[in-house]
Protein backbone atom coordinates (compact mmCIF):
# COMPACT_ATOMS: atom_id res chain seq x y z
CA UNK A 1 0.00 0.00 0.00
CA UNK A 2 2.79 2.36 0.87
CA UNK A 3 4.70 1.63 -2.34
CA UNK A 4 6.67 4.55 -3.78
CA UNK A 5 6.25 6.81 -0.73
CA UNK A 6 2.46 6.54 -0.83
CA UNK A 7 2.10 7.55 -4.46
CA UNK A 8 0.09 4.35 -4.98
CA UNK A 9 -2.90 6.41 -3.81
CA UNK A 10 -2.65 8.48 -7.01
CA UNK A 11 -2.68 5.43 -9.23
CA UNK A 12 -5.64 3.90 -7.34
CA UNK A 13 -7.75 7.00 -7.87
CA UNK A 14 -6.59 7.96 -11.34
CA UNK A 15 -10.02 7.59 -12.95
CA UNK A 16 -11.55 9.72 -10.22
CA UNK A 17 -8.96 12.48 -10.84
CA UNK A 18 -9.46 12.46 -14.59
CA UNK A 19 -13.25 12.17 -15.06
CA UNK A 20 -14.80 12.39 -11.57
CA UNK A 21 -17.85 10.18 -10.99
CA UNK A 22 -18.41 9.61 -14.73
CA UNK A 23 -20.00 7.31 -16.02
CA UNK A 24 -22.03 6.54 -12.85
CA UNK A 25 -22.44 10.25 -12.15
CA UNK A 26 -21.79 13.61 -13.78
CA UNK A 27 -18.42 14.23 -15.41
CA UNK A 28 -15.83 15.83 -13.15
CA UNK A 29 -12.13 16.00 -12.40
CA UNK A 30 -9.65 17.22 -14.98
CA UNK A 31 -12.23 16.94 -17.79
CA UNK A 32 -14.56 19.36 -15.99
CA UNK A 33 -11.68 21.72 -15.19
CA UNK A 34 -10.84 22.00 -18.88
CA UNK A 35 -14.50 22.40 -19.85
CA UNK A 36 -15.05 25.21 -17.32
CA UNK A 37 -11.89 27.03 -18.42
CA UNK A 38 -12.52 26.76 -22.16
CA UNK A 39 -16.17 27.83 -22.02
CA UNK A 40 -15.45 30.77 -19.70
CA UNK A 41 -12.51 31.80 -21.87
CA UNK A 42 -14.58 31.83 -25.07
CA UNK A 43 -17.39 33.78 -23.42
CA UNK A 44 -15.08 36.30 -21.80
CA UNK A 45 -13.20 36.95 -25.06
CA UNK A 46 -16.51 37.89 -26.68
CA UNK A 47 -17.68 40.03 -23.76
CA UNK A 48 -14.18 41.46 -23.29
CA UNK A 49 -13.99 42.63 -26.93
CA UNK A 50 -17.43 44.18 -26.62
CA UNK A 51 -16.74 46.03 -23.35
CA UNK A 52 -13.22 46.89 -24.52
CA UNK A 53 -14.73 48.69 -27.51
CA UNK A 54 -17.14 50.50 -25.17
CA UNK A 55 -14.19 51.58 -23.02
CA UNK A 56 -12.58 53.39 -25.98
CA UNK A 57 -15.89 54.91 -27.02
CA UNK A 58 -15.91 58.67 -27.52
CA UNK A 59 -19.29 58.94 -25.84
CA UNK A 60 -18.48 59.63 -22.21
CA UNK A 61 -21.87 58.40 -21.03
CA UNK A 62 -20.92 54.99 -22.35
CA UNK A 63 -17.20 55.06 -21.59
CA UNK A 64 -17.16 56.04 -17.91
CA UNK A 65 -19.95 53.80 -16.58
CA UNK A 66 -18.38 50.82 -18.35
CA UNK A 67 -14.91 51.71 -17.05
CA UNK A 68 -16.33 52.03 -13.53
CA UNK A 69 -17.92 48.60 -13.63
CA UNK A 70 -14.80 47.02 -15.15
CA UNK A 71 -12.59 48.52 -12.46
CA UNK A 72 -15.01 47.61 -9.69
CA UNK A 73 -14.93 43.97 -10.77
CA UNK A 74 -11.13 44.09 -10.80
CA UNK A 75 -11.25 45.35 -7.23
CA UNK A 76 -13.05 42.38 -5.68
CA UNK A 77 -11.80 38.83 -5.18
CA UNK A 78 -12.96 36.12 -7.57
CA UNK A 79 -14.20 34.19 -4.57
CA UNK A 80 -16.60 37.05 -3.81
CA UNK A 81 -17.82 37.08 -7.42
CA UNK A 82 -18.47 33.35 -7.15
CA UNK A 83 -20.48 33.82 -3.96
CA UNK A 84 -22.48 36.60 -5.57
CA UNK A 85 -23.30 34.44 -8.56
CA UNK A 86 -24.08 31.54 -6.29
CA UNK A 87 -26.76 33.50 -4.45
CA UNK A 88 -27.78 35.86 -7.23
CA UNK A 89 -27.98 33.91 -10.42
CA UNK A 90 -30.71 31.43 -9.42
CA UNK A 91 -32.85 34.17 -7.91
CA UNK A 92 -32.13 36.53 -10.77
CA UNK A 93 -32.95 34.06 -13.52
CA UNK A 94 -35.94 32.78 -11.58
CA UNK A 95 -34.94 29.24 -12.44
CA UNK A 96 -32.56 26.50 -11.62
CA UNK A 97 -28.95 27.12 -12.60
CA UNK A 98 -26.49 24.26 -12.36
CA UNK A 99 -23.49 25.09 -10.15
CA UNK A 100 -21.11 24.57 -13.03
CA UNK A 101 -22.89 27.43 -14.84
CA UNK A 102 -22.74 29.51 -11.68
CA UNK A 103 -19.00 29.10 -11.79
CA UNK A 104 -18.80 29.75 -15.53
CA UNK A 105 -20.82 32.95 -15.05
CA UNK A 106 -18.53 34.11 -12.24
CA UNK A 107 -15.33 33.25 -14.13
CA UNK A 108 -16.67 34.96 -17.25
CA UNK A 109 -17.63 38.18 -15.48
CA UNK A 110 -14.31 38.28 -13.62
CA UNK A 111 -12.15 37.47 -16.65
CA UNK A 112 -14.10 39.75 -19.01
CA UNK A 113 -12.99 42.71 -16.90
CA UNK A 114 -9.35 41.74 -17.54
CA UNK A 115 -10.02 40.90 -21.19
CA UNK A 116 -11.58 44.29 -21.77
CA UNK A 117 -8.39 45.93 -20.47
CA UNK A 118 -6.33 43.83 -22.85
CA UNK A 119 -8.59 44.81 -25.73
CA UNK A 120 -8.47 48.46 -24.71
CA UNK A 121 -4.67 48.46 -24.60
CA UNK A 122 -4.53 46.50 -27.85
CA UNK A 123 -6.69 49.03 -29.67
CA UNK A 124 -4.72 51.94 -28.30
CA UNK A 125 -1.51 50.32 -29.52
CA UNK A 126 -2.67 50.33 -33.14
CA UNK A 127 -1.33 53.48 -34.66
CA UNK A 128 -3.50 56.52 -35.04
CA UNK A 129 -2.63 56.52 -38.73
CA UNK A 130 -4.75 53.42 -39.23
CA UNK A 131 -7.80 55.06 -37.73
CA UNK A 132 -7.27 58.24 -39.66
CA UNK A 133 -6.74 56.40 -42.94
CA UNK A 134 -9.96 54.50 -42.33
CA UNK A 135 -11.89 57.64 -41.48
CA UNK A 136 -10.58 59.45 -44.56
CA UNK A 137 -12.05 56.74 -46.81
CA UNK A 138 -15.42 57.87 -45.53
CA UNK A 139 -16.21 54.94 -43.22
CA UNK A 140 -18.04 55.87 -39.99
CA UNK A 141 -15.94 55.70 -36.81
CA UNK A 142 -17.68 52.59 -35.47
CA UNK A 143 -16.98 50.67 -38.65
CA UNK A 144 -13.37 51.79 -38.73
CA UNK A 145 -13.01 50.36 -35.20
CA UNK A 146 -14.70 47.05 -35.93
CA UNK A 147 -13.36 46.34 -39.44
CA UNK A 148 -9.94 48.01 -39.51
CA UNK A 149 -8.50 48.54 -36.04
CA UNK A 150 -9.99 45.57 -34.15
CA UNK A 151 -8.82 42.78 -36.50
CA UNK A 152 -5.23 44.04 -36.32
CA UNK A 153 -5.46 44.54 -32.57
CA UNK A 154 -6.91 41.07 -31.97
CA UNK A 155 -4.01 39.44 -33.77
CA UNK A 156 -1.62 41.09 -31.33
CA UNK A 157 -3.82 40.14 -28.40
CA UNK A 158 -3.84 36.40 -29.01
CA UNK A 159 -0.89 35.73 -26.68
CA UNK A 160 -2.66 37.68 -23.93
CA UNK A 161 -5.81 35.65 -24.50
CA UNK A 162 -3.81 32.47 -24.08
CA UNK A 163 -2.36 33.85 -20.85
CA UNK A 164 -5.88 34.55 -19.62
CA UNK A 165 -6.81 30.95 -20.41
CA UNK A 166 -3.93 29.91 -18.16
CA UNK A 167 -5.30 32.13 -15.38
CA UNK A 168 -8.73 30.64 -15.94
CA UNK A 169 -7.48 27.09 -15.64
CA UNK A 170 -5.95 28.03 -12.30
CA UNK A 171 -9.04 29.94 -11.22
CA UNK A 172 -11.39 27.03 -11.91
CA UNK A 173 -9.95 25.51 -8.74
CA UNK A 174 -12.15 27.96 -6.79
CA UNK A 175 -15.19 26.09 -8.09
CA UNK A 176 -14.27 23.70 -5.29
CA UNK A 177 -15.83 26.13 -2.80
CA UNK A 178 -19.33 25.73 -4.22
CA UNK A 179 -19.00 21.98 -4.57
CA UNK A 180 -18.35 21.68 -8.31
CA UNK A 181 -16.44 18.44 -8.74
CA UNK A 182 -13.49 19.76 -10.77
CA UNK A 183 -9.92 18.61 -10.25
CA UNK A 184 -9.27 20.37 -6.92
CA UNK A 185 -12.60 19.28 -5.45
CA UNK A 186 -11.95 15.72 -6.51
CA UNK A 187 -8.51 15.93 -4.91
CA UNK A 188 -10.03 17.01 -1.60
CA UNK A 189 -12.58 14.19 -1.88
CA UNK A 190 -9.81 11.65 -2.36
CA UNK A 191 -7.82 13.31 0.40
CA UNK A 192 -10.83 13.21 2.72
CA UNK A 193 -11.25 9.52 2.07
CA UNK A 194 -7.65 8.37 2.29
CA UNK A 195 -6.63 10.97 4.91
CA UNK A 196 -2.92 10.24 5.19
CA UNK A 197 -1.50 11.32 1.81
CA UNK A 198 -2.25 15.06 1.45
CA UNK A 199 1.24 15.96 0.20
CA UNK A 200 1.20 13.31 -2.54
CA UNK A 201 -2.31 14.20 -3.69
CA UNK A 202 -1.85 17.96 -3.81
CA UNK A 203 1.59 17.66 -5.39
CA UNK A 204 0.10 15.38 -8.04
CA UNK A 205 -2.69 17.76 -9.01
CA UNK A 206 -0.26 20.68 -8.89
CA UNK A 207 1.81 18.82 -11.48
CA UNK A 208 -1.27 18.22 -13.66
CA UNK A 209 -2.16 21.90 -13.54
CA UNK A 210 1.45 22.78 -14.20
CA UNK A 211 1.73 20.60 -17.31
CA UNK A 212 -1.48 22.05 -18.72
CA UNK A 213 -0.64 25.67 -17.95
CA UNK A 214 3.03 25.45 -18.86
CA UNK A 215 2.21 24.10 -22.31
CA UNK A 216 -0.14 27.01 -22.88
CA UNK A 217 2.31 29.58 -21.48
CA UNK A 218 5.05 28.28 -23.75
CA UNK A 219 2.68 28.41 -26.69
CA UNK A 220 1.78 32.01 -25.90
CA UNK A 221 5.48 32.95 -25.74
CA UNK A 222 6.02 31.29 -29.09
CA UNK A 223 3.15 33.35 -30.53
CA UNK A 224 4.57 36.51 -29.03
CA UNK A 225 7.92 35.93 -30.69
CA UNK A 226 6.28 35.22 -34.02
CA UNK A 227 4.27 38.41 -33.78
CA UNK A 228 7.31 40.45 -32.78
CA UNK A 229 9.16 39.07 -35.79
CA UNK A 230 6.33 39.93 -38.13
CA UNK A 231 6.08 43.43 -36.74
CA UNK A 232 9.80 43.86 -37.33
CA UNK A 233 9.52 43.54 -41.10
Amino acid sequence: MDGWFGFQVIWDNMAHFLVGRYPSGPIGGLALTIWLAVVSCALSIVIGIFTGLLCVSQNRFIKYPVLTVVNAIRGIPLLMVIFWMYFLLPAFMGMVVAESWTVIAALTIFTSAYMSQIVQAGIEAISRGQTEAGLSTGLPRNQVMVFIVLPQAVRNMIPSFVNQLVSLIKDTSLAFIVGVAELTHVATQVNNRTMVYPAQIFLFIAIIYFILCFMLTSYSRHLEQKLAYRKGI
Binding site: I76, P77, M80, S173, F176, T184, P198, A199, A206, F210
Partner: protein, 235 residues
Protein backbone atom coordinates in the same frame (compact mmCIF):
# COMPACT_ATOMS: atom_id res chain seq x y z
CA UNK B 1 -41.69 31.25 -1.91
CA UNK B 2 -39.18 33.69 -0.49
CA UNK B 3 -39.58 37.39 -0.74
CA UNK B 4 -36.34 38.93 0.35
CA UNK B 5 -36.67 41.38 3.21
CA UNK B 6 -33.47 43.33 3.63
CA UNK B 7 -32.15 43.73 7.13
CA UNK B 8 -29.00 45.79 7.11
CA UNK B 9 -28.85 45.93 10.90
CA UNK B 10 -27.42 42.41 10.73
CA UNK B 11 -24.14 43.58 9.25
CA UNK B 12 -24.08 47.08 10.73
CA UNK B 13 -24.65 46.41 14.44
CA UNK B 14 -24.00 43.92 17.19
CA UNK B 15 -22.14 40.62 17.15
CA UNK B 16 -22.20 40.05 13.39
CA UNK B 17 -20.86 43.52 12.62
CA UNK B 18 -18.03 42.70 15.05
CA UNK B 19 -17.27 39.55 13.05
CA UNK B 20 -17.00 41.56 9.85
CA UNK B 21 -14.68 44.06 11.56
CA UNK B 22 -12.54 41.20 12.91
CA UNK B 23 -12.42 39.80 9.39
CA UNK B 24 -11.23 43.12 7.98
CA UNK B 25 -8.44 43.23 10.57
CA UNK B 26 -7.23 39.75 9.70
CA UNK B 27 -7.39 40.46 5.95
CA UNK B 28 -5.27 43.59 6.44
CA UNK B 29 -2.71 41.83 8.65
CA UNK B 30 -2.50 38.92 6.23
CA UNK B 31 -2.09 41.18 3.21
CA UNK B 32 0.46 43.50 4.82
CA UNK B 33 2.68 40.66 6.03
CA UNK B 34 2.51 38.91 2.66
CA UNK B 35 3.10 42.07 0.64
CA UNK B 36 6.27 42.87 2.56
CA UNK B 37 7.62 39.32 2.37
CA UNK B 38 6.68 38.71 -1.25
CA UNK B 39 8.37 41.94 -2.33
CA UNK B 40 11.56 40.90 -0.59
CA UNK B 41 11.42 37.40 -1.98
CA UNK B 42 10.51 38.68 -5.44
CA UNK B 43 13.66 40.83 -5.43
CA UNK B 44 15.83 37.90 -4.43
CA UNK B 45 14.35 35.60 -7.08
CA UNK B 46 14.67 38.28 -9.76
CA UNK B 47 18.36 38.74 -8.98
CA UNK B 48 18.89 34.96 -8.91
CA UNK B 49 17.10 34.69 -12.24
CA UNK B 50 19.66 37.08 -13.76
CA UNK B 51 22.65 35.54 -12.05
CA UNK B 52 25.73 34.60 -14.07
CA UNK B 53 25.83 31.18 -12.40
CA UNK B 54 23.75 28.78 -14.49
CA UNK B 55 22.48 26.49 -11.66
CA UNK B 56 21.21 29.48 -9.65
CA UNK B 57 19.49 30.81 -12.75
CA UNK B 58 17.99 27.37 -13.41
CA UNK B 59 16.62 26.99 -9.89
CA UNK B 60 15.01 30.42 -10.03
CA UNK B 61 13.57 29.72 -13.47
CA UNK B 62 12.07 26.39 -12.39
CA UNK B 63 10.60 27.98 -9.28
CA UNK B 64 9.01 30.77 -11.31
CA UNK B 65 7.47 28.49 -13.89
CA UNK B 66 6.14 25.97 -11.40
CA UNK B 67 4.61 28.49 -9.02
CA UNK B 68 3.10 30.67 -11.74
CA UNK B 69 1.47 27.73 -13.48
CA UNK B 70 -0.20 26.13 -10.45
CA UNK B 71 -3.43 27.29 -8.78
CA UNK B 72 -3.00 29.24 -5.57
CA UNK B 73 -5.70 27.20 -3.86
CA UNK B 74 -3.74 24.00 -4.44
CA UNK B 75 -0.67 25.73 -3.01
CA UNK B 76 -2.65 26.69 0.08
CA UNK B 77 -3.67 23.07 0.63
CA UNK B 78 -0.15 21.90 -0.05
CA UNK B 79 1.45 24.20 2.50
CA UNK B 80 -1.20 23.72 5.14
CA UNK B 81 -1.89 19.98 4.93
CA UNK B 82 1.00 18.69 2.84
CA UNK B 83 3.83 20.35 4.77
CA UNK B 84 3.10 18.05 7.71
CA UNK B 85 4.47 15.02 5.88
CA UNK B 86 7.60 16.83 4.79
CA UNK B 87 8.64 18.68 7.93
CA UNK B 88 10.16 16.95 10.96
CA UNK B 89 7.73 16.24 13.82
CA UNK B 90 9.40 18.72 16.17
CA UNK B 91 8.86 21.54 13.68
CA UNK B 92 5.24 20.49 13.22
CA UNK B 93 4.64 20.50 16.97
CA UNK B 94 6.19 23.93 17.24
CA UNK B 95 4.06 25.28 14.40
CA UNK B 96 0.84 23.72 15.68
CA UNK B 97 1.25 25.29 19.08
CA UNK B 98 1.07 28.63 17.29
CA UNK B 99 -1.18 30.20 14.71
CA UNK B 100 -0.10 27.96 11.87
CA UNK B 101 -3.21 28.67 9.78
CA UNK B 102 -2.20 32.31 9.48
CA UNK B 103 1.45 31.43 8.87
CA UNK B 104 0.57 28.91 6.16
CA UNK B 105 -1.57 31.53 4.45
CA UNK B 106 1.31 34.04 4.54
CA UNK B 107 3.70 31.41 3.15
CA UNK B 108 1.34 30.46 0.33
CA UNK B 109 0.56 34.05 -0.62
CA UNK B 110 4.22 35.09 -0.40
CA UNK B 111 5.52 32.24 -2.52
CA UNK B 112 2.79 32.65 -5.13
CA UNK B 113 2.99 36.42 -5.43
CA UNK B 114 6.79 36.59 -5.32
CA UNK B 115 6.92 34.59 -8.55
CA UNK B 116 4.88 37.27 -10.31
CA UNK B 117 6.73 40.14 -8.66
CA UNK B 118 10.08 38.62 -9.64
CA UNK B 119 9.12 38.63 -13.31
CA UNK B 120 7.95 42.24 -13.10
CA UNK B 121 11.17 43.28 -11.40
CA UNK B 122 13.24 41.34 -13.91
CA UNK B 123 11.71 43.20 -16.82
CA UNK B 124 12.37 46.38 -14.84
CA UNK B 125 16.04 45.40 -14.45
CA UNK B 126 16.33 44.52 -18.11
CA UNK B 127 15.12 47.95 -19.11
CA UNK B 128 18.07 49.53 -17.28
CA UNK B 129 20.89 50.07 -19.82
CA UNK B 130 23.73 47.56 -19.55
CA UNK B 131 26.25 50.41 -19.35
CA UNK B 132 25.02 51.26 -15.87
CA UNK B 133 26.11 47.88 -14.58
CA UNK B 134 29.42 48.11 -16.44
CA UNK B 135 30.04 51.58 -15.06
CA UNK B 136 29.24 50.41 -11.54
CA UNK B 137 31.51 47.36 -11.87
CA UNK B 138 34.37 49.40 -13.29
CA UNK B 139 34.13 51.88 -10.45
CA UNK B 140 34.83 49.02 -8.06
CA UNK B 141 31.39 47.83 -6.94
CA UNK B 142 30.87 44.08 -6.66
CA UNK B 143 28.04 42.47 -8.71
CA UNK B 144 25.76 42.25 -5.66
CA UNK B 145 26.50 45.82 -4.61
CA UNK B 146 25.97 47.22 -8.11
CA UNK B 147 22.61 45.44 -8.16
CA UNK B 148 21.68 46.62 -4.68
CA UNK B 149 22.75 50.26 -4.96
CA UNK B 150 22.58 51.12 -8.65
CA UNK B 151 20.32 48.82 -10.64
CA UNK B 152 17.56 47.71 -8.25
CA UNK B 153 16.50 51.16 -7.00
CA UNK B 154 15.94 52.26 -10.58
CA UNK B 155 14.30 48.99 -11.61
CA UNK B 156 11.91 49.05 -8.65
CA UNK B 157 10.83 52.53 -9.54
CA UNK B 158 10.04 51.47 -13.08
CA UNK B 159 8.20 48.44 -11.73
CA UNK B 160 5.82 50.36 -9.47
CA UNK B 161 2.70 50.17 -11.70
CA UNK B 162 2.80 46.38 -12.22
CA UNK B 163 3.73 45.98 -8.54
CA UNK B 164 0.60 47.84 -7.49
CA UNK B 165 -1.53 45.41 -9.41
CA UNK B 166 0.35 42.46 -7.88
CA UNK B 167 -0.29 43.82 -4.38
CA UNK B 168 -3.93 44.29 -5.26
CA UNK B 169 -4.10 40.73 -6.53
CA UNK B 170 -2.50 39.56 -3.32
CA UNK B 171 -5.07 41.36 -1.18
CA UNK B 172 -7.85 39.80 -3.20
CA UNK B 173 -6.18 36.40 -3.17
CA UNK B 174 -5.97 36.51 0.62
CA UNK B 175 -9.66 35.54 0.55
CA UNK B 176 -8.55 31.99 -0.27
CA UNK B 177 -7.18 31.71 3.26
CA UNK B 178 -10.72 30.96 4.36
CA UNK B 179 -10.31 27.44 3.01
CA UNK B 180 -7.69 26.64 5.66
CA UNK B 181 -9.70 28.19 8.49
CA UNK B 182 -8.19 31.70 8.66
CA UNK B 183 -11.00 33.97 9.84
CA UNK B 184 -10.46 36.74 7.28
CA UNK B 185 -13.14 38.89 5.67
CA UNK B 186 -14.63 36.40 3.21
CA UNK B 187 -14.69 33.70 5.90
CA UNK B 188 -16.53 36.02 8.27
CA UNK B 189 -19.01 37.14 5.61
CA UNK B 190 -19.76 33.51 4.98
CA UNK B 191 -20.12 32.85 8.71
CA UNK B 192 -22.63 35.68 9.00
CA UNK B 193 -24.49 34.18 6.04
CA UNK B 194 -24.69 30.72 7.56
CA UNK B 195 -25.71 31.97 11.03
CA UNK B 196 -28.31 34.48 9.85
CA UNK B 197 -29.15 33.42 6.26
CA UNK B 198 -28.53 37.05 5.34
CA UNK B 199 -26.28 36.37 2.36
CA UNK B 200 -26.99 39.52 0.39
CA UNK B 201 -26.23 41.85 3.28
CA UNK B 202 -23.10 40.01 4.38
CA UNK B 203 -21.62 39.76 0.89
CA UNK B 204 -22.50 43.33 -0.01
CA UNK B 205 -20.65 44.53 3.10
CA UNK B 206 -17.60 42.40 2.30
CA UNK B 207 -17.59 43.41 -1.37
CA UNK B 208 -17.66 47.10 -0.48
CA UNK B 209 -14.79 46.64 1.97
CA UNK B 210 -12.68 44.96 -0.72
CA UNK B 211 -13.45 47.79 -3.12
CA UNK B 212 -12.38 50.39 -0.57
CA UNK B 213 -9.20 48.47 0.19
CA UNK B 214 -8.37 48.28 -3.51
CA UNK B 215 -8.77 52.03 -3.80
CA UNK B 216 -6.66 52.68 -0.70
CA UNK B 217 -3.82 50.43 -1.85
CA UNK B 218 -3.71 52.02 -5.27
CA UNK B 219 -3.75 55.46 -3.65
CA UNK B 220 -1.06 54.70 -1.06
CA UNK B 221 1.37 53.17 -3.47
CA UNK B 222 0.90 56.01 -5.92
CA UNK B 223 1.59 58.49 -3.13
CA UNK B 224 4.70 56.52 -2.14
CA UNK B 225 5.79 56.48 -5.75
CA UNK B 226 5.43 60.26 -5.99
CA UNK B 227 6.95 61.23 -2.64
CA UNK B 228 9.67 58.66 -1.99
CA UNK B 229 10.74 57.24 -5.30
CA UNK B 230 10.56 60.31 -7.47
CA UNK B 231 13.90 61.13 -9.16
CA UNK B 232 14.71 64.01 -6.80
CA UNK B 233 13.81 62.00 -3.73
CA UNK B 234 16.26 59.25 -4.67
CA UNK B 235 19.45 61.05 -3.74
Amino acid sequence: MFKYQFDWSVVLTGQYAQWIVDGIKVTIQLSMASIALSFLMGLIIAVMRMSQVAPIRGVAHGYLEFIRNTPLLVQFFFWYFGSYQILPQAVNDWLNARDFEFAAAVIALTIYTSAFIAEDIRSGIRSIPKEQMEAARSSGFSYIRSMLYIILPQAVRLTIPPLISQFLNLTKNSSLAMTIGVAELTYQARQVESYTFRGFEAFTAATLVYLVMSLVITGLVMLYDKKVLSPTGMK
